[in-house]
């Protein structure tokens, strides 16, 4: 069987599965559409949340980032899992007890203000839009590589599938497709890792491979990470286990990612689908367990891929380069420039091309001889590094590097698509409910009927998908990568602190919450925009990069909200009573308007 046939079987089979599930669980009422009737089991919700949370970027790029930056990438590993501890202990049990459909509902009711509600809608839409663009792009890329179609066709196919089950099925459709998608993802991520771990370290469990031993050609064994540090320093890179970010910057970024994770609306609403506060706690354990299976594998894959790459490429004559090297070169994600004319590939620290992380620009495609690299037209840099590779290939090329059977490659591709679709669906739900419920029902037209609201939700999800697909096809260049800092910074400086104060303090009032949110968001957005888009230098305040400023924004939000609340009248008695009520777990019941 050919690789193409395997790809069709895996992608086609998984799509048929998702659509089949969606048809069986179509939503008719707002309650089904927004929270799947609140009757999902903690186990199923745990799987669905894990799939919702792990995006195309996590699946495709995270291991590559770890391979490239070693210790520094721990900020993502800790940030994106540690947030679940904050989420579980501080946010979701109380919001589940509050028992409404959306996160913005809580802001609006707790701070008795439609202004707070409107700020919530804007933040939710902004956070989810930034995210969903990347997912659509991810689906398009995978499809275009698999089936040799244009990226836009791939994006349209992906958008169509998501609309079919998320737009029509609502939360009910999404939940069970996400369960299926998690299963696809976990196999796709761990199976190649098992093979590679066995080859490199002799460990069957890839998670342990990271701390395992590497066997040299001479038969001696050294710890894998010691070997990797040595390879890195020989080539002029910093030690793999040390990294180069400053401690304060690393602290702020990790904390911002954690608090941002705990404030992301598409993750929070997943916990509105279980039955009770007790079920929320149980479901959170399952969620983190399912996420940990993949997150504990990622640093191992990163270290394996880095070792493999250096061992197979460095000092190898191009004529003897492995097949995967040439096939990814064909797809434009690897390049080799023979700077010293010796026909051997030298990989060292520093960019191959002049400029800051420049990508290769290939000369017009001409027939290339068997042992000749693709020519590039970039201006070269001063250093002697000759090998360029795109970090994103590490997960996708892993099976090829390890010479795995074709069906594994097809499975990895199906996993990439599952990761992108599951996250896109969760985001789309928040986007559509922000419009239909928070904006239309609660602010514009409170008299709207249930079925009208569902129609609004479906139309809004269609509208948002069109916008997301447009940006997936025409990504605003580097904009998407830079805006990820926005999404987490915004969640960390707006939703997380405001919800936290809303639950844990009875004294924070409308004026305080609004002033706090505006100050926190203002500082965070201002700082990110200033350093990402306006100036060219990187003279950050106290060395805190834009990625980490959300943490400072959160502290500002807390202080401003507390100060303003102290000098303005306390919240009304009904709100205080509501806060007391949500602090007690009993009688969570089912969601109401």
């Amino acid at each position: 069987m050919s690789q193409d046939l395997w790809n069709y079987i895996f992608i086609g089979g998984s799509f048929a599965l998702y659509i089949g599930i969606a048809v069986r669980s179509r939503a008719a009422t707002t309650k089904e559409y927004y929270v799947a009737s609140g009757g999902v089991s903690p186990f199923a919700n745990g799987m669905a949340t894990a799939a919702d949370w792990m995006s195309a970027a996590t699946f495709i790029s995270m291991a590559g980032i770890i391979a490239a930056s070693g210790y520094d990438a721990s900020r993502f590993l800790m940030g994106w899992t540690g947030g679940f501890v904050l989420l579980t202990t501080l946010i979701v049990p109380y919001l589940r007890k509050f028992n409404k459909f959306t996160v913005t509902d809580f802001l609006g009711d707790r701070f008795y203000s439609n202004f707070a509600r409107a700020v919530g809608v804007i933040c939710a839409v902004f956070i989810c839009m930034t995210y969903i663009m990347g997912q659509m792009r991810g689906v398009g890329l995978v499809f275009s590589r698999l089936f040799d179609i244009e990226i836009w066709t791939g994006v349209i196919i992906g958008a169509g599938i998501v609309f079919f089950y998320a737009g029509l099925g609502g939360m009910k459709g999404i939940t069970y497709t996400q369960v299926a998608q998690y299963c696809v993802m976990v196999f796709a991520y761990t199976i190649p890792a098992v093979f590679i771990s066995m080859a490199l370290t002799g460990n069957v469990i890839p998670q342990f491979g990271l701390i395992g031993n590497f066997t040299e050609a001479t038969g001696e064994t050294v710890p894998l990470l010691t070997k990797l540090n040595q390879l890195n320093t020989d080539l002029g890179f910093p030690d793999y286990t040390v990294g180069k970010l400053g401690t304060l910057d690393m602290f702020c970024i990790t904390a911002a990612l954690m608090c941002g994770t705990a404030g992301l609306p598409h993750v929070i609403v997943r916990f509105f689908t279980v039955k009770s506060v007790k079920a929320v706690r149980k479901s959170a354990c399952w969620t983190l367990l399912f996420i940990a299976v993949i997150y504990l594998t990622a640093p191992a894959i990163g270290a394996f891929a880095r070792t493999n790459l250096i061992l197979e490429v460095q000092g190898t004559a191009y004529a003897e380069a492995p097949d995967w090297f040439k096939s990814w070169e064909d797809r434009g994600l690897i390049a080799w420039v023979d700077k010293n004319g010796d026909g051997v590939m030298q990989h060292e620290a520093g960019g191959v091309f002049a400029g800051n992380n420049e990508k290769p620009i290939y000369a017009e495609a001409t027939e290339r001889a068997a042992n000749e690299p693709r020519l590039t037209t970039n201006k070269l840099s001063e250093n002697s590094n000759e090998v360029y590779y795109d970090r994103d290939i590490l997960v996708m090329a892993n099976p090829e590097m390890a010479n795995l059977p074709m069906w594994v490659i097809a499975l990895v591709m199906a996993g990439c698509v599952a990761a992108a679709l599951s996250t896109a669906a969760g985001l789309l739900l928040v986007l559509s409910t922000s419009i239909s419920h928070d904006l239309m029902k609660k602010i514009v037209n409170p008299g709207m009927s249930d079925s009208q609201e569902v129609i609004w939700a479906r139309s809004a999800s269609f509208g948002f998908l069109v916008v997301a697909a447009y940006f997936g096809i025409n990504p605003p260049a580097e904009f998407v990568a830079k805006t990820v800092a926005f999404a987490f910074g915004l969640a960390a400086s707006s939703f997380f602190p405001t919800i936290l104060m809303g639950v844990f303090s009875k004294r924070i009032n409308r004026e305080g919450a609004i002033a706090g949110m505006i100050a926190g968001i203002g500082l965070t957005l201002g700082y990110i925009i200033y350093f990402q888009f306006i100036v060219d230098h990187q003279n950050y305040w106290f060395g805190i990069s834009p990625e980490g400023i959300g943490f400072i924004g959160m502290l500002v939000n807390f202080s401003v909200a507390t100060l303003v609340s102290c000098v303005t009248p306390p919240p009304p008695a009904s709100v205080v009573e509501m806060v007391e009520e949500i602090r007690l777990p009993r009688k969570a019941g089912s969601a109401t308007h």
Binding site: G82, V85, F251, K278, A279, R281, A292, S505, R583
Partner: protein
């Protein structure tokens, strides 16, 4: 900031005790959370790398940052669930069969 408003419902005492105890549990969990992640993985990473024996083949602080913290989070969530469920039972806020 947690001043009680006047005219609270009659079983306010039981609610206040429950809330104080659940705050203690949350603070306890978050203290460990801070130590295993931002503490071991970031602030004291270099000291742990140097002073503690390696975790298999990995320096200890590095391992905490890449894998240990995640395992710690998982144990913490499990502990949180057990502590809160038992507090619910003792305080009479148990949710019978609601899962």
């Amino acid at each position: 900031m947690n001043s009680q408003p006047s005219g609270s419902p009659p079983d306010n005492g039981r609610q206040t005790v429950y809330w104080t105890k659940s705050l203690q549990i949350v603070l306890f969990i978050l203290a460990i959370w801070f130590v295993v992640s931002l503490g071991c993985g970031v602030l004291f990473r270099e000291k742990l790398d140097a002073l503690l024996p390696p975790m298999g083949g990995a320096p200890f602080g590095f391992w905490m940052a890449q894998q240990g913290a995640i395992i710690g989070f998982l144990l913490l969530l499990f502990l949180y669930m057990i502590l809160m469920n038992s507090l619910d039972r003792k305080s009479g806020f148990d949710q019978e069969g609601e899962e």
